[in-house]
């Protein structure tokens, strides 16, 4: 128990994981109930929590790692929170309310919040573990990829979702010759329809990223290091690096070992509590009503709700309407809700392919159900609010599509 304060008057709360969900949760909780808990945050990365969303900007060279730190050390100290960086919890003894750390130490808790996040997936294909094959998840990954910098380096990004696009853009900004291979027939198929994806593809290509669709990577070749990638259609692309951006898997091993209910992630109820009393989970490691969110916003909502509950306030989490923002400068993409709007939904679509603009609102019974905005994402916040609130929008369709009318000059 070295270095840990023994404040018997306060309840002992341990947060496992030191990412964005954990930080927001701690911030909310210390604001609401400054003296109620004795808080310990344990994170396995050797640094303070940072904004993972901005890693693509770091990769692109637009920001440094220091720039994306969420809270400075003084803040943690001032909040009375102890942070253990570079430490990993390897076991939960729920019965004893005790955690075992990778250095052999153990920590007792009264309550524990799991915020262990997720890890990047790799395709289970031959050569996926060769040197030069990366994922795009944390600062280390970014640092590894940053070494590709320089004229003539060729990278293949596998995966045409949000993460893949951001990785490809970041590398392209560094002067790397980037090809992005996506197994589906369109980019960001979970967020965009065919028209929106097609406009996005053109915008991305204008940023210098070569895009291959329907491209199923089957094998990575190389002797001691990545040399080329083979595809199902028979083509082979010579590369110096491969970046997998094919999705994430919730980090639920710890919970599983502890005997908690686990699906894809750690199952939680509307109170963010797992099947084990006193054990909570938030963020990407959690599974709420069958949904594992891979975005920061639900994690923040969960963190806020849990903070309120632990501060003794009424709160419950009913799930999130998620929205997607692509963080690629000059390529604006927003998607939320029922973005396809099939069946009896009515669609309002504005498209100007040459100008790279596509805006689609999905409406059912005068309520906004979903939206896609490509190229021009103004009004997205209002649109998201309306999707969430379910307010009647029949009188404001034009404004949602084209912005508020200009006020007459006085």
């Amino acid at each position: 128990m070295t270095g840990l304060k023994d404040c018997s008057s306060r309840e002992k709360l341990v947060v496992v994981g030191a990412g964005m969900a954990a930080t927001r949760f701690v911030e909310e909780l210390t604001n609401r109930a400054p003296d109620r808990y004795d808080i310990l945050v344990i994170g396995d990365e050797p640094r303070l929590a940072y904004n993972r969303v901005l890693l693509s900007s770091v990769l692109a060279g637009e920001l440094s790692v220091d720039d994306i730190e969420l809270k400075p050390r003084q803040w943690w100290r001032a909040a009375g929170v102890e942070v253990l960086s570079g430490r990993k919890v390897i076991k939960i003894n729920a019965a004893a309310r005790r955690l075992l750390l990778d250095n052999g130490e153990s920590v007792d808790y009264s309550k524990v919040a799991l915020a262990t996040g997720s890890r990047a997936a790799r395709l289970p294909i031959e050569g996926a573990d060769l040197p030069g094959v990366h994922v795009f998840r944390d600062v280390q990954d970014v640092e590894a990829m940053s070494r590709l910098e320089g004229r003539g380096a060729r990278a293949l990004v596998v995966g045409g979702g949000l993460l893949g696009l951001e990785a490809a853009y970041g590398l392209a900004r560094r002067g790397v010759d980037v090809t992005l291979a996506h197994v589906m027939d369109r980019l960001m198929e979970r967020q965009l329809d065919a028209v929106g994806a097609d406009i996005l593809r053109r915008l991305v290509e204008e940023k210098g990223v070569r895009v291959l669709l329907n491209a199923n990577a089957t094998r990575i070749n190389g002797s001691g290091r990545v040399e080329n990638v083979e595809f199902a259609d028979g083509q082979t692309i010579p590369v110096d690096a491969v970046i997998f951006a094919v999705g994430i898997q919730p980090n639920a091993d710890l919970a599983r070992q502890a005997g908690l209910d686990v699906g894809r992630g750690v199952k939680i109820d509307d109170g963010l509590e797992t099947s084990e009393s006193g054990v909570f989970a938030i963020g990407e490691c959690a599974e709420h009503r069958g949904v594992c969110y891979g975005l920061v916003e639900p994690a923040y909502e969960q963190g806020r709700v849990l903070a309120m509950r632990l501060a003794g306030q009424e709160a419950s989490y009913g799930g999130s309407v998620v929205s997607t923002n692509l963080k690629v400068s000059g390529v604006r993409v927003f998607s939320a809700g029922d973005y396809l709007g099939e069946g009896d939904a009515r669609r309002i679509v504005c498209k100007d392919p040459r100008m790279g603009i596509y805006r689609k609102l999905v409406v059912r019974d005068d309520r906004l159900m979903g939206a896609i905005l490509v190229g021009d994402t103004n009004g997205a916040a209002d649109i998201l609010d309306l999707i969430r609130s379910g307010a009647d929008i029949s009188s404001q369709c034009d404004e949602l599509m084209f912005g508020p009318p200009m006020r007459e000059a006085a």
Binding site: M20, N51, V53, L54, L63, D67, I68, L70, V296, E297, Y300, N325, K327, S329, G330, R332, F334, R346, R347, I348, V349, C350, K351, D352, P353, R354, M355, I357, R359, V363, D366, D376, T377, N378, G379, A380, A381, S394, C397, D398, M401, F402, G403, P404, P405, M406
Partner: protein
């Protein structure tokens, strides 16, 4: 739309702003209404403005006249003689072939069937010289008086009324009377729209001299809106009102007994007839459906105002009793001696620019030449003057009868010149069918396509248009003005008089060797004076010996101008000297007022027809002006709101209006300007400009027994509502062929064509039309399934080539018209086209800074400008950075940058101040 309908005619007062007349400026006259305004045209008509020196308008022009410069393009212009081929298409032929065919065809049919088997149908748009040669050819050489003109539809009742009352077709007064009258009564005249320059003179008189204006009309027109007293009279009841007036004038002793005794005849029988028709104010009220108090006010005003002008137009003329109406009005002026005196006269407002010239020439089937009729002495006189081999022995067939004769096959050859009877005649569908039966059907015109040409014309002869042709016109006040050419005739277009003269020569006739228009004019003037000796009103013998140069320089002049007169006369008949036997004017006893038709259960409404402010006739010229198209771009039906409600017709929706003769589909305008039971539709649209709006096809062909003028303003009709799933517009650089089932109307827009459309087409149906019309890849579009709306635009190199907008409710096209006129559109303008509004568009927020709340750099900079000095401040103001916070570094950077910029500014300001101080020191030092 309501506001537009009410808007008074736009006037361009150019008195003060007139540019110095350039050497290249040509003085001419406007080709539209009978006011006959003078214009100044720069070379090639780049600019057409009012002529300050012309006494009709003193420099002013109405909206139509002001837009003349926009109407001179060659789009759709007939440039060469064309002959219809076996396949139905026209092919170019030489003038030689065309003239031989015209002359040979006329010759053959006259030889086989006699002279009355051929006919010529002329236009009030023609110049006096054109009329003269056509009339001479037909009545003196071919030997038939089957020469009539579209003036028959316009002024014939006034001609007949003038002849009955005055013994000659003479307008006794002049425009100055409108300036000098104390009471102006407008009967059946929407002068505010149809004679705007005269109306402005009336309004100025009202303002400056306090003249009263009484408007008598079935519709509350823009003219009526300006009246001191508006009498919304029942259709066909005008002579009841003026009979009642005559009776009342007798009752109050307002007659000019001396004038009646000295200069007139028939007074007693006319008064007796008037007493039968309208013995009292109560009886007048019954017949006219006016309030007694209004009638009494009008009668009282008329009785006590010596300087009274009663001006009348198509509401009087276009009636099966039009001639009686004219005479009922004239009776009141004769009885009060208010004829041809300053500010006191009956006054006919002529419709067309040269209807008067046509009347002077005799270009009507019931007159021979130069105001002479078919009396044996006149026939003999004209024969001798013309040295004519085969004089027409009797009156010919008037327009409606002429087309009946064509339908029967009695007339086998027709030459239509400068008019469009397939659109403008009553029962126009029957007229069109008749045209298709002709053995020889010649059309002289400026256009390659119109409803008449497309009714089976065999031979098209390209005529000079306004601005190219040269000759004389006469306006409503008997003022002869020169219309002069200021641009070369395009292609092979020729003067109409020259075409007629050539055909006459090829038919073997002597006396048609005219070299220039002046030759024709001198002959016309000489005929007017020939054996005249002041027995005929129309005498311009004083102009018979003009040299070519004097003719070219002829100043606007009022006839009569007898030989030896220095100048013409502004007014006639103040002291009698009428042209009937005995020199007395004749009171005419009018028939009991009645309409030619009665309403039935199937046709329970009265259809009135008329003009709108910014179009002229069938729009061949005004239709070329994008500016004029903006006023009322669609054919419409005005209907009283209570009728609309009863019939289920929506204001702004569509209505089918049908009569026993035909039907149209028009935009419905519910307005209380239109009395219940009456509907109104404008006459201007044809098959060239609309899918289903030829209003002539609906008009009953019943005519006045004296004038032969049809009753165009009171046809029984039925209106049914019509709805279309979508309506909207298409703006295209090229003409679009729209499929069956699409209601459309076409107007000129800048560098293209504007279509207003409506239909029940499927999405795919519209998409096919749009795709076919756009034919390019760069397309921006909005599809709003919630509103069944789609709009979009196709571009070639940043220029919109096609713009469309379709929705259940008609979208506004004003913004689209403006953007369509531009050569380049930027991104926000492209989006404006889709949104249909020019509001704040997308992408104005600058680069995105806060992803969570989508706050752009510009918004943040604005917050900093307003005093935010930290990221949390900015968050308070804009929400930026208040969620994930990942943009806070960037917000801080923006704060730092703008604070640095501000302090740099402060430094600069300090520097400036010190420099100033230094400078002043220096100044002191000096």
């Amino acid at each position: 739309m309501l506001d537009e309908v009410l808007a008074p005619a736009a006037l361009e007062n150019l008195h003060n702003s007139i540019a110095p007349v350039q050497a290249t400026t040509t003085r001419s006259t406007c080709p539209y209404c009978g006011v006959g305004c003078g214009v100044l045209a720069s070379a090639n008509g780049a600019e057409v403005i009012g002529d300050p020196a012309h006494p009709a308008n003193f420099g002013r022009l109405c909206s139509k006249g002001s837009a003349l410069g926009e109407t001179l393009g060659l789009g759709g212009r007939l440039l060469h003689p064309m002959r219809r081929q076996a396949d139905g298409a026209f092919a170019r032929v030489s003038w030689d072939v065309a003239l031989d065919e015209a002359a040979g065809g006329f010759r053959r049919i006259v030889d086989e069937h006699g002279p009355d088997a051929v006919a010529v149908y002329l236009s009030g748009q023609l110049l006096t010289e054109d009329y003269y040669v056509a009339n001479k050819l037909m009545k003196g050489f071919i030997g038939s008086a089957n020469v009539d003109t579209n003036s028959r539809l316009c002024m014939a009742s006034t001609v007949a009324g003038h002849k009955r009352a005055f013994g000659a077709d003479v307008v006794p007064g002049c425009y100055e009377d409108l300036d000098e009258a104390d009471l102006i009564v407008l009967v059946g005249s929407n002068a505010a729209w149809c004679h705007p320059i005269l109306f402005q003179r009336i309004m100025r008189n009202k303002e400056e001299r306090g003249a009263k204006l009484v408007v008598i009309d079935t519709r509350r027109t823009p003219t009526a809106e300006s009246a001191d007293l508006f009498l919304q009279i029942a259709p066909g009841a005008d002579q009841a009102l003026f009979c009642g007036l005559l009776v009342n004038l007798a009752k109050v002793g307002a007659f000019d007994a001396d004038y009646i005794r000295q200069y007139t005849t028939g007074f007693e029988s006319a008064l007796t007839a008037a007493r039968n028709i309208a013995p009292s104010i109560e009886a007048t009220a019954m017949s006219t459906q006016l309030r007694e108090v209004d009638i009494a006010a009008f009668f009282e005003l008329f009785a006590r105002t010596t300087r009274t002008v009663t001006a009348f137009s198509q509401g009087v003329n276009q009636s099966a009793q039009g001639t009686d109406k004219v005479n009922a009005i004239i009776n009141c002026h004769l009885a009060t001696g208010r004829v041809g005196k300053p500010g006191a006269s009956p006054f006919s407002l002529t419709g067309q620019p040269n209807a008067m010239g046509g009347r002077e020439v005799g270009g009507l089937a019931n007159s021979l030449a130069a105001h002479m009729g078919f009396e044996p002495a006149n026939i003999d006189r004209v024969r001798r003057f013309w040295n004519a081999p085969r004089m027409a022995p009797r009156e010919g067939l008037k327009a409606v009868q002429m087309f009946d004769a064509i339908a029967r096959g009695d007339i086998k050859a027709l030459w239509v010149v400068g008019t469009n009877p397939a659109a403008s005649l009553p029962n126009a569908n029957a007229a069109r069918d008749a045209l298709s039966k002709l053995e020889l059907f010649i059309v002289s015109d400026n256009v390659t396509s119109n409803d008449t040409i497309n009714s089976g014309a065999h031979l098209l002869l390209p005529a000079q248009a306004w601005g190219e042709k040269s000759g004389a016109v006469t306006n409503s006040e008997r003022r002869i003005s020169r219309q002069r050419a200021f641009m070369p005739a395009p292609g092979e277009a020729r003067a109409d008089w020259a075409i007629f003269a050539d055909v006459a020569r090829r038919m073997g006739f002597a006396g048609f060797d005219y070299g220039v228009a002046a030759d024709v004019f001198r002959e016309h003037a000489a005929l007017s004076a020939f054996e005249n000796d002041a027995t005929r009103a129309f005498d311009i013998g004083g102009l018979a010996r003009l040299s070519d140069a004097e003719y070219d320089a002829l100043e606007p002049t009022q006839w009569p101008i007898r030989d030896g007169d220095g100048k013409g006369r502004a007014r006639l008949f103040a002291d009698g000297a009428f042209f009937s036997q005995g020199g007395r004017a004749t009171f005419i006893a009018p028939a009991k007022p009645t309409l030619a038709t009665t309403l039935t259960k199937d046709f329970p409404l009265r259809l009135n027809t008329g003009r709108i402010r910014d179009q002229w006739h069938t729009m061949t010229r005004t239709g070329a002006s994008p500016r004029l198209a903006r006023h009322l771009p669609e054919p419409f039906l005005e209907i009283n709101p209570s009728d609309a409600a009863d019939l289920g017709v929506e204001d702004g929706g569509f209505a089918r209006v049908a009569t026993p003769y035909g039907s149209c589909v028009l935009r419905a305008v519910a307005t209380d300007r239109q009395p219940a039971g009456h509907v109104f539709a404008p006459i201007h649209w044809t098959d060239e400009t609309a899918e289903d709006a030829r209003i002539g096809a609906l008009v009953a062909p019943f005519v006045d027994p004296f004038s032969g003028q049809p009753e165009s303003k009171a046809t029984p009709a039925i209106v049914t509502p019509l709805r279309f799933a979508r309506q909207g517009f298409l703006l295209s650089r090229n003409p679009i062929t729209l499929p069956e089932g699409v209601w459309w109307t076409r107007v000129a827009v800048a560098d293209g064509y504007g279509y207003r459309v409506a239909a029940d087409l499927s999405d795919d149906g519209w998409t096919d039309i749009i795709r076919a019309a756009s034919a390019c890849e760069d397309v921006a579009q909005l599809i709003d399934e919630t509103k069944s709306l789609f709009s979009g635009a196709a571009f070639v190199e940043d220029r919109a080539t096609l713009i469309w907008a379709l929705a259940p409710v008609s979208p506004s096209w004003d913004l689209a018209l403006e953007l369509f006129a531009r050569d380049r559109l930027d991104q926000s303008e492209r989006l404006s086209l889709l949104s249909g509004r020019s509001g704040r568009q997308l992408t104005d927020d600058g680069p995105l800074v806060c992803s969570c709340f989508r706050v752009g750099q510009k918004q943040i900079e604005a917050a900093i400008q307003q005093g935010c000095r930290s990221a949390p401040d900015v968050g308070e103001a804009t929400r930026a950075g208040s969620n994930c916070g990942s943009c806070r570094p960037e917000i801080q950077r923006l704060i730092k940058i703008s604070l640095a910029a501000e302090s740099a500014m402060d430094l600069a300001r300090e520097d400036q101040t010190s420099m100033k101080e230094g400078a002043s020191d220096e100044t002191v030092g000096f």
